[in-house]
Structure formats: C-alpha cells, structure tokens
C-alpha cells in the first residue's frame, strides 16, 4: 500500500489518526487492540498507523510476539517547529512595524 508523504498538520488533521494518538497517549497498544476501537477495516487502521509511523508520531516495536504502537516525539517536534517559525515571523514583522511607525513620528517632529 502506498503511503502518501504528509506534513504533520495533514497527519493530525484526520480524525481517526487523532483518535489513534489519543488512545496511544493513554497506553501503548498493539495494532489489533487499536483496530478494535474503530469500525473501519483492519487494513484501513494499518494504513493510518503507517502514516503516523512515517511522520514520526509513533514507532512500532516488537515486544514478545506482539507489535506495539508507541507515541514518539519527532512528529510533535515538527509541529512545534511550525509554531516556532510563525512566532519568529510575527515578532520580526512587528519589529518592522515598530520601526516604521517610529520613523513616522520623527518625520513628523522634523517638519
């Protein structure tokens, strides 16, 4: 099954994937026990899990005979990167506005 390359916001925009992350935030679960929480087919659940895995939101680990899905920080860090990017973006733009407005005052005073 082809796994589309999605950015972190697209990954968590899907309600089923959000639910998977929510379930995994309470407990690490096997793919089978995760699938029990959904009406969709097991392959469909597997696909969501693969998307979450490739985006770094979860990792899949073999423990004993079972394959467990475990939350992983990488995907969440990427979301934080977006927030940080826009935070810095706004700060620099607002500083530019401040400089522009201060210039306006000094121009006014020099008249």
């Amino acid at each position: 099954m082809a796994i589309p390359a999605l950015d972190p916001f697209q990954v968590i925009a899907d309600p089923s994937r959000r639910q998977i992350l929510q379930l995994l935030s309470k407990n690490s679960l096997t793919i089978n026990s995760l699938a029990e929480n959904f009406d969709m087919s097991r392959p469909a659940v597997s696909k969501h899990i693969k998307i979450l895995d490739s985006a770094g939101f979860i990792s899949i680990q073999n423990i004993g005979r079972e394959r467990y899905c475990i939350l992983k920080q990488d995907g969440f860090n990427e979301l934080q990167e977006w927030i940080n990017y826009f935070d810095g973006f706004w700060l620099s733009k607002l500083q530019k506005l401040e400089a522009l407005m201060n210039k306006k005052i000094s121009e006014h005073q020099n008249k």
Binding site: D7, F9, W90, K93
Partner: protein
C-alpha cells in the same frame, strides 16, 4: 515551551493610526507582506512570502476577513501549506487594539492550528514523554 503565538507591542500612536497600518493594503505591505487585503468581512485575500519548503509551506497564505470592529479588532483566517487545495496550516490571526494613556496596545494572537490543540500538552510537557518511556520499559520488562 509555548502553546500559542501571542505578541504585544505598545505604540506611541493613537489606535486610528495603528489601525491604518493593519488595514491599508499598501501600508500593510510595507511591514508584513505584499497582499490584496480589503477591510471587508468576507473578503478573501492572499499574502505572499518566502517559501519554507522544509516545513511544507509554499509561501502563499490564503486568508478571509472574519471580523472587523473598526479601530479595535481585526480577525482573519490564515491558511497555507503546499497548495490552496491542501491548506495543511489552518489557523486564525487576531489583532486587538486598546487605547492607552499615550498610545495603543496592539495584541497579535495566532492560534487555532487545526488538530494541534490536543497534542500541545505532549509537546509542552516533556514529562509526558518520560511517562511514555517508563510505560514502555514496564511493558518490555513484564514480557
């Protein structure tokens, strides 16, 4: 780590002047980005900036004016990503102006990143990850 974007600036100008810089397309372009903004609720406009490909951002921001209270508040949607069809970034920008004794307090809030809300605790609280790690080692140890 922070969970939302919020900045406050005080300007020694009355709100009417600050408002001009937020709502006049040409003035806005001087400090923010080139745009086709109009101060009309429902008006759809765009900003253009440098692409940030690593983040999956093509540099175009698609916006719609959601709320205007003249000289006090301006709200617009802020969508972007790799294309207009897939706005992976779905958020809201709110500007609030409050008159002060000799100027204006301007507050910018950028929030509502779709889907992100529920996971912020995990981003913010590294303790959460510690817990997950502990749970994992417990799981491994009991097998």
């Amino acid at each position: 780590m922070q969970k939302e974007i919020r900045h406050q600036f005080i300007f020694p100008h009355p709100p009417t002047v600050v408002w001009d810089y937020l709502t006049n397309s040409e003035l806005l372009a001087q400090w923010l980005m080139p745009n086709d903004f109009k101060p009309l609720v429902g008006h759809k406009f765009q900003f253009g900036t440098k692409p940030k490909l690593k983040l999956g951002f093509d540099g175009r921001v698609y916006c719609e004016v959601l709320e205007i209270i003249e000289y006090r508040k301006l709200v617009y949607s802020w969508q972007g990503g790799m294309s207009k069809e897939h706005p992976s970034l779905d958020s809201i920008v709110t500007w609030t102006l409050e008159p002060t004794d000799n100027g204006t307090l301007l507050t910018l809030e950028h929030k509502g990143f779709k889907g992100i809300k529920n996971y912020l605790p995990y981003i913010i609280m590294n303790k959460g990850w510690l817990k997950i790690g502990k749970r994992l080692s417990k799981l491994i140890n009991t097998k």
